[in-house]
Symmetry: C2
Subunit: 418 residues, 2 copies
Amino acid sequence: MMGKNNIKVMCEGVRAASRKLALVGKNKRDKAIIAMANALVKNASYIIKENEKDLKVAREKKLSAAMIDRLMLNDARIRSMAGSLVKIAKLKDPVGDIMEKVKRPNGLLIKKVRVPIGVILVIYESRPNVTSDCIGLCLKSSNAVILRGGSEAINSNIAIFDILNREALRSDLPRGVISMIMDTDRRIVDHLLAQEGLIDLVMPRGGESLIKEVTRKSRIPVIKHYKGVCHTYVDAGANLKMAEDICFNAKVQRPGVCNAMETMLVSHKVAKAFLPSMIRRFNKAGVQIRGTSQVRRIAPGIKLAREEDWYTEYLGLILSVRIVKDVDEAIEHIMKYGSYHSDAIVTENKRNAMKFLNEVDSACVYVNASTRFTDGGEFGKGAEIGVSTDKIHARGPMGLEELTSYKYIILGNGQVRE
Amino acid sequence: MMGKNNIKVMCEGVRAASRKLALVGKNKRDKAIIAMANALVKNASYIIKENEKDLKVAREKKLSAAMIDRLMLNDARIRSMAGSLVKIAKLKDPVGDIMEKVKRPNGLLIKKVRVPIGVILVIYESRPNVTSDCIGLCLKSSNAVILRGGSEAINSNIAIFDILNREALRSDLPRGVISMIMDTDRRIVDHLLAQEGLIDLVMPRGGESLIKEVTRKSRIPVIKHYKGVCHTYVDAGANLKMAEDICFNAKVQRPGVCNAMETMLVSHKVAKAFLPSMIRRFNKAGVQIRGTSQVRRIAPGIKLAREEDWYTEYLGLILSVRIVKDVDEAIEHIMKYGSYHSDAIVTENKRNAMKFLNEVDSACVYVNASTRFTDGGEFGKGAEIGVSTDKIHARGPMGLEELTSYKYIILGNGQVRE
């Protein structure tokens, strides 16, 4: 295993490389990212061969079909990874932007300038496309990145990393700006999380237990990408056709992601008019409903929701349903059981819409739209490295700007403080 | 002692109060802050009486004169605390600002809106004015605050808190939005740092050991206010009169603060012309110089600097001096020994100025000005809660905007994701 000292030496190397990377021009970095995209496509069969090794182990371990699907790479998926890299290369480089500029009465000119964060550690599970996405986004924003993928995708990750790192070196980027921990021993994570002078930010992406462990152990700032227990509240007087389409989309269009709806709240004033046809439509799409006894009176035959259902991110075709008195009870429910990710109200009532927007303390709050739009691309950020459920530094979809910090540059001509 | 469970219950109360505070209008909060300022002045003699108790213990414990001075309150200092509150009340409220607004091709209107962070825990040492400053800044930015001051100022802190909290309640602010831990048992800090669902941000303000302990234990995001080992580099060809004034100001004007200079770096090309008169001026002001053997050849009689001196924040009238080859060696020194707080170059050479600005990775980088300007007030922020030495969320002086987060508000008319 890599010992504590090896980790420190490696991180020192990455830190030094990150300083050099901050001085590498935009064109050189963009060219490297494009070269990486081409190399992925050219080496697709090698990646697929290595991916097969991971799939074989996954099948032997009898991992779920959903997990195996997340792990699996084919030509189309590798082309899509390459396409993401090309898209990232073409985005605007945020580094160097003057965010604010002020001339003080004493003549000092103070500029707030966007700079890279420095060294970012990404700890992730299963999906091998995270490897290339993170490398592209970090290089584009002039950050060095240390990748620590899950053991179940280790062969795929190493194959992708090797191909991309070769292109990084060919493109003359400083050695070490992209680094991967290839040893899957879990104690290595502990050592990494203690390198507070050398790593600037940790982003855990994965299940609840991973995120809790990282948060507990890290001395480095963490931005969490936590679960999404997303709600849609159908208000009294809502356009029920619109509500049905929004709720159906939020649940069914891609149920395995964090911005899919897990709980539907319905005003008691429209429950009878709304629920029967809505539930029929859900049932036809294979969605299992878990409702309160009040819901069951309207839609007999559905399962009874238990207390823990309201806290659960199903990531699948299950939906909890509750009838509430009004917008206040809906907000109370969301604040008690939700994960402050994305929540929506469907309403024609401006007062209730404003109340919902103000009082629901989630990263993304919607009026009359599907929660599925919480996404860097859909928000116009071009790409995303994840969706932050933290309030510090970045909240909601994180694109390139959220991967930057800033510094103050102060230009004087001899000013001293009185 | 307050047990773990008491702490949790208290934090739940503060969390609930913070939700209510987010809905309290600006005028009501401003009026409360002004009432607090008046109450401080009216109750000055009571505060001074309570402060006497702390001073008595401090003298018995034989704390340093500097520490006793930081602890001491008198009429002028209490009036100054009140003045700060009035100034804070008059600042622009950042909450509710639309930071960005974008209309997407599908018709969705996405607004990025400034919101309070929620619940902020401030852990601080000695200075009792931090109590009223933090309360003012947090209320102004609609954040609830939990204060945990040092035991050496406990009587002063409780007196100030009681007076301010009475005004908060009289002004009808939600009970609990300002809270103080009055039990000085150190284990309470451990319990507080484990309340990751209830506290959103921790700001430790104090010595290195406090900050290290908080960083190690906290599951809550931390913004550090770390030491300032600030440098000034006097370049070849610098205006030496300007350099002398800047260096003198940076060291002497207020040596006990984090933005004061601790190390002066001088190009070997100007060392002989610059150092003798500079050192004479420092000596006259009582500054003790610690230099390399090269410096001692120019200024015999000064102490030899040891390796640890370069890492040291003296917070007093001591200065390390080193002669360097060029701007590159100066940058290398700063990156190796510095604390990335505030560093300055004095130069007439544009290329060297640009190099220094680009390559010194500190929160505030100066050309031809004193590092003493790193301050929320001097930067035009109106007030500051501290100077962040972190790169995540806030860097450099933190004012009201840095005490906010944001949320996305998305307005649709039935949009669903394809």
